[in-house]
Each structure stands twice: as structure tokens, then as C-alpha cells.
């Protein structure tokens, strides 16, 4: 453990401890009980400054919820979120607002995340005005600078979002996030709605910006190829829990959790399955409304034991900061 600490020169920018988010759904008709959707079920995770942490998992596993909690678009049910050592988990909006300029989010859908009635200039400059970052006279200049930075033209600030393609809209969304000079950006599936040839442009833009401004990313995606390509560390999420966490290389070369192996070998055209014991895919993901007891993965796991059904496995470190939550691994 000592060695790891010595290696870690970077500071931890974001830290969550046992973070939970439950959603209460409407009452069921006859039983009268209201159903509880457990979107996040105790997530403990560190994000180092200047790094890119990839968060992968199937749809509905809680990745977006986690991202939205980190930038406090939502309030956790319980647990702690530390931003630079400050516990922001239950801050009220007024206290939170000055902190918001440090953390921004880029959304998945470039069509619904831009207000169609605002000009691009207004969209990009709104946060600067809200946070009073610059004198009024400088805001226009700064907007132009931002648009040029993301590959748009100064004239574009007078147009409305409808005039732009998906890729260009995502550039606008990135300019908006950058306008307040954030230290931390949640990129929630930023390229999955885009065409292949446009995806690369946007990924490159995000990487360029990271180098220029030393931004820390939480990169949420289901594209395993992309994660391998750009992320320093990977967290694999399954039904609201982290099941594996490690450096990207370790996850791809030596995936330990059966779920990670299942994910990697499902990637079409992958060469993972040649080396790894391929996990057979048994069934679909269970509903988060009715989570399995014990390890949430056991109904789909081919190697399950008695302990898996009864006990929730905790995330344990297996050396070199490779953490896995699985009863099968010793």
C-alpha cells in the first residue's frame, strides 16, 4: 500500500464514499407500497486530478446517475461526495452555485441539451454572465474565443442550434462547459449519438482541451473501444455498484470480475475471447426495482457459489490498485 501512495503524486480531485441514490416511484395500484428504484447502491471511488476515468456498464446500471450526482445536478440519498476535500453532498443551491463553475457536464444528446430559442452566443456566454466572470464588455470577445477553440466560427454565435449538425452541436455543448474554466468535466456519452467519422473529431477536441487546461474527466460511455483508447482508469459498473476498478491496461489485459469478462468478450470483433474464458451470457440485466440478494451479478454468473447468493461482495484491492468485488477471487 505504501508504494501506491508514493506513486500517487496527484491529488484526489473527487472522492465519493458509499454514495447511494434511490428514486421513489409512484405507489403501486393494489399493494399500496411505493416501489424504490435503487439506481446507485454504495459507490466509493476516487478521481485523480488531470486524469480520465472511464465509467462503463450497460444501460440502466447507474452510470449517468453517478455523473449527475458528482456535479450535484441531483442530491444523493446518502453517502458523501468530496470535491477537493470539501463535502458537497448536501450543499444547498446557494452555497453550491459558486462551486458549479469548477464542475461542468457535457450531455449525450446534442439535440435536446441546447435551448432551441437561444442563440449559440447566449448559450455559451450564459454561465459567464451568471458567475460574473468577466466584465460585460469582455464577454462577447471571450465567447468568440471559445467558439474558435472548439472549431466553430465567430459568426456562429448569432445562429440558433437548429442551424447545426449533431457534431457541431456537441462542439457548442463543449464550449458551454468550458466557458467557466472548469477543473472537472463529466462527459456523459458525449459521442454516442454521433456518426463514426464525427466521433473522432469530438474525441480529439476533448483530448486537446484536456491537455490545454488540465481538465479531469469522468468519461461515461458504453463504447469499450473508446475507453481503452482514451481513459487512464476504468470503473465497471453493474446495477448501481462498482464491480471492478483499475488502470485501463490492467482491466483490458487482466479482467478479473466475471461481468467485466462478459462485457469485453461481447465486444464484436474483439480478440479478448481468444485468451479469456468467455463468459456465456445467460440472461438480460435484472430490474433495478427488484435487485438480487447478495452479489447483484450472480443470476448471470456461471461460477456462482452459495456465498454469492447470500453476501454482497465488497470491493477489495488485489494489488496495484486493481479492485474487484467478487467472492470468487482470492
Amino acid at each position: 500500500m505504501l508504494e501506491i501512495h508514493e506513486l500517487e503524486m496527484q491529488e484526489t480531485l473527487i472522492r465519493t464514499v458509499n454514495l447511494k441514490k434511490y428514486y421513489k416511484l409512484g405507489r403501486r395500484y393494489f399493494s399500496g407500497h411505493s416501489a424504490v428504484l435503487k439506481a446507485l447502491n454504495g459507490v466509493t471511488l476516487n478521481i485523480q486530478a488531470g486524469e480520465t476515468l472511464g465509467l462503463v456498464g450497460e444501460s440502466g446500471c447507474g452510470k449517468s446517475t453517478f455523473g449527475r450526482l458528482l456535479v450535484r445536478l441531483e442530491r444523493p440519498t446518502s453517502g458523501e461526495i468530496y470535491f477537493k476535500g470539501e463535502d458537497i453532498s448536501f450543499y444547498k443551491e446557494a452555497i453550491l452555485r459558486p462551486l458549479r463553475k469548477n464542475m461542468q457536464i457535457v450531455f449525450q444528446d446534442p439535440y435536446s441539451s441546447l435551448n432551441p430559442k437561444m442563440t449559440v452566443g447566449d448559450i455559451v456566454s450564459e454561465s459567464m454572465r451568471v458567475h460574473n466572470l468577466y466584465p460585460k464588455s469582455e464577454i462577447d470577445e471571450r465567447t468568440i474565443e471559445l467558439l474558435c477553440l472548439v472549431g466553430l466560427t465567430p459568426e456562429d454565435r448569432k445562429k440558433y442550434p437548429e442551424a447545426f449538425s449533431g457534431g457541431q452541436r456537441q462542439r457548442i455543448g463543449i464550449a458551454r462547459a468550458l466557458s467557466v474554466k472548469p477543473e472537472f468535466v463529466v462527459a456523459d456519452e458525449p459521442v454516442s449519438a454521433l456518426d463514426v467519422s464525427i466521433q473522432a473529431q469530438i474525441v480529439n477536441l476533448l483530448l486537446e482541451i484536456q491537455e490545454k487546461f488540465n481538465i479531469t474527466y469522468l468519461f461515461i460511455t458504453h463504447d469499450l473501444r473508446l475507453v481503452e483508447y482514451i481513459c487512464d482508469q476504468v470503473a465497471v459498473m453493474y446495477l448501481g455498484r462498482i464491480v471492478e476498478f483499475a488502470n485501463t491496461e490492467d482491466v483490458y489485459k487482466n479482467p478479473l470480475h466475471p461481468y467485466t469478462r462478459m462485457l469485453l468478450s461481447s465486444q464484436p470483433g474483439s480478440d479478448f475471447d481468444t485468451k479469456l474464458p468467455t463468459e456465456k451470457i445467460y440472461m438480460d440485466v435484472p430490474s433495478p426495482l427488484n435487485l438480487p440478494s447478495g452479489c447483484v451479478f450472480y443470476p448471470r454468473c456461471s461460477q456462482k457459489r452459495d456465498a454469492c447468493v447470500k453476501e454482497v461482495p465488497i470491493l477489495r484491492d488485489f494489488g496495484l490498485n486493481h479492485q474487484v468485488a467478487c467472492h470468487l477471487i482470492n
Binding site: E58, S59, S165, G167, Q168, D195, V196, S197, I198, Q199, A200, Q201, V203, N204, L207, H222, D223, L224, R225, L226, E228, Y229, I230, M262, L263, S265, S266, Q267, P268, G269, S270, I281, M283, D284, V285
Partner: protein, 331 residues
């Protein structure tokens, strides 16, 4: 039997053109001269970005194009019969019976107010003249084939009670219900998670191996093609720009667009390259109502020369089973 069938294409598309009339009387050329032939037992990939015409081409084969769209030219020869010349009634006998289709969005392509069983049975009652009970029994059998657990219970359920992966299995069950010779699958796994995608692709492969059904697989994901297809046609702006065997997909693409796309897909980063950058293709997908004169890729092409801007190249065979539409290889 297989060998003599293999020589005769099951479906041949020649010079297919499908256009859409826009409000200001402009014409959008969604499919602009596509030639393709599919042999029995082949899984044939059709890849391209959104708006390249791959879906419209497939819908044209089944004559499912509605005004303001229309097929303006070409032939779709199905076992020596031109489908474009058939009467409506005759076409209905082919659609769903000999050629069937799987759509991208399993949520919207099933009717929410009928049970799975009814919807499956309807197809077989219509095409194969089965009674209701016979058809329902067959439906149970089909759900078993597509590996849906507990089929007796499932046929009584409605689409909203099934997960996305299961709905897509039902769509596949429906598509194979009348033993078609060709199934057109339009982005069958795009809306699904990777693990479910794997299951669906494996299922399609299994059906192809067991029954010899041909598939046209439309997708934007090269890796999906690599996984199950034998031949692949790459489309750009309504035309095929490259046609080759799927195993050459990453190894030997020739057209500058295909090459650039391969490089823009994140692959394992090699240790030596310090930069993380992907090779992006500049510019955007062209507007189909306002296409450039020469080669449609010329505005984005890194190797463009004068000829490219003026005259459009034709699809030329440069090696056995490898066709490219590019001036670089014309001489």
C-alpha cells in the same frame, strides 16, 4: 445443392435509384445507382454513416418507400423476377414470406396493443394459411428457437412486458416464421447493450448456418460486420464506394473514405505513439439535396486531385471480389 445455388444470385439490385421530392421542388437523391447481388446463404453487410442511403436502399428492395419518396430507376431482381414491376398483391406475397425484415427499434416495430403470440401468429395465418391454434403452437416453437425462456407464458404477454433484447428476439422470430430466403436486418443491434448485441448476432449466425437463410445486415458499426458478415458494401452519399470481403475490412480498405473511417475507429493504442489523437475525417456528411459534382467524397478527401472534382468515378473491380469507386485506382 448448395454449390449450384451459390452461383445464382438470390437477389440482384441493378442501378437502383430512390429519390425524395422536397418542398421547394428540389430532389434528394437518397440512393443513387446501387448495384448489389446477394447469393444464397450469405450474410451481406451494408455499412455507412447516417444518411448514406443504406436504409432507403433496403426499404426500396421491399418497395416500402412512401411518397414523397419514390423509386425512379433500376431493377430489383428476385430469383429472375423484377420486384419493381410486380403488382401490389404479388409484392405482398413476397414481403414477409420470401423476404422479411428486422427493424432497428424493437420498441416501435411491435404493436403495443396485441400480444406477442397474436402478432407472431398473424404472419403465419396470412402467408401459410395456418389456423389460429396451429399458428399459436408454431409461435411457441419459434420463441423457443430464438431462445426465449418460458415461451408459453411469453406468447400471452404484450411488448412492453419484454426487455429490449427479448423484443428483438421476437422480431427475429417473426422474420423467420415463414422460412424466408432473405432477411434484411436494419441496425438490428444498435439500440441494444453489447452483451445483448452479442446474443442477437450469435442467434443470427446460428439461423444462417441452420437454415441457409441469406441476410443483408445494415449497420454503421464495422465491428458488427466483422463479427458475422462475409461480404461488405460501404456506402457514401447514396452510392456504394467499396465492395469487398468482410475479413479485409480493417486489413485492406482501398477507398480513401473507408481508409479514413478505419483509422478514426478507436483501436488499441500502441505504446510508441505518445499522442492519443484519433485520425478524424474533416468536414461533415454531405447534404444529399446538394451534392458535389464529381466524386461525392472529394470535399473531404485527403488525396483529391482535379479529376475527382469534375467527374465521378465508377465502381471498378481492382482485384477479385474487390470493387472501388475512386480515381486513384482507375488507371
Amino acid at each position: 445443392m448448395k454449390s449450384h445455388k451459390k452461383d445464382h444470385p438470390l437477389l440482384t439490385i441493378r442501378g437502383l435509384k430512390t429519390e425524395f421530392r422536397l418542398q421547394d421542388n428540389k430532389v434528394l437523391r437518397a440512393v443513387d445507382g446501387v448495384d448489389l447481388s446477394i447469393r444464397a446463404g450469405e450474410i451481406h453487410g451494408l455499412v455507412g454513416e447516417s444518411g448514406c442511403g443504406k436504409t432507403v436502399a433496403a426499404l426500396s428492395v421491399l418497395r416500402l418507400i412512401r411518397w414523397p419518396g419514390y423509386i425512379s430507376d433500376g431493377q430489383v431482381v428476385w430469383q429472375s423476377e423484377d420486384l419493381l414491376k410486380l403488382k401490389k398483391k404479388e409484392m405482398q406475397k413476397i414481403r414477409g414470406k420470401e423476404i422479411s425484415m428486422i427493424f432497428q427499434e424493437p420498441m416501435t416495430s411491435l404493436n403495443p396493443v396485441f400480444t406477442i403470440g397474436t402478432q407472431l401468429a398473424d404472419v403465419m395465418r396470412l402467408h401459410d394459411g395456418l389456423s389460429k391454434n396451429q399458428a399459436l403452437n408454431k409461435a411457441v416453437e419459434l420463441l423457443g428457437i430464438v431462445k426465449i425462456a418460458d415461451p408459453y407464458r411469453r406468447i400471452k404477454e404484450y411488448p412492453h412486458q419484454l426487455s429490449g433484447g427479448m423484443r428483438q428476439r421476437v422480431m427475429i422470430a417473426m422474420a423467420i416464421s415463414c422460412q424466408p430466403k432473405l432477411i434484411i436486418a436494419d441496425e438490428p443491434t444498435t439500440a441494444l447493450d453489447v452483451t445483448i448485441q452479442k446474443q442477437i448476432l450469435d442467434l443470427m449466425k446460428e439461423i444462417q448456418e441452420k437454415t441457409g437463410t441469406s441476410f443483408i445486415l445494415i449497420t454503421h458499426d464495422w465491428d458488427v460486420i466483422l463479427e458475422i458478415a462475409t461480404k461488405v458494401a460501404v456506402m457514401y452519399a447514396g452510392r456504394i464506394i467499396e465492395y469487398f470481403t468482410a475479413k479485409d475490412l480493417y486489413r485492406n480498405p482501398m477507398h480513401p473514405y473507408a481508409r479514413a473511417l478505419v483509422q478514426s475507429i478507436p483501436r488499441k493504442r500502441n505504446k510508441e505513439s505518445s499522442t492519443k489523437r484519433l485520425k478524424a475525417i474533416a468536414g461533415n456528411v454531405p447534404d444529399l439535396a446538394d451534392l458535389p459534382v464529381g466524386c461525392k467524397f472529394s470535399p473531404r478527401c485527403p488525396d483529391v486531385f482535379e479529376q475527382c472534382v469534375e467527374v465521378e468515378p465508377t465502381l471498378k473491380e481492382i482485384a477479385p471480389d474487390h470493387l472501388v469507386r475512386c480515381w486513384k485506382y482507375m488507371n
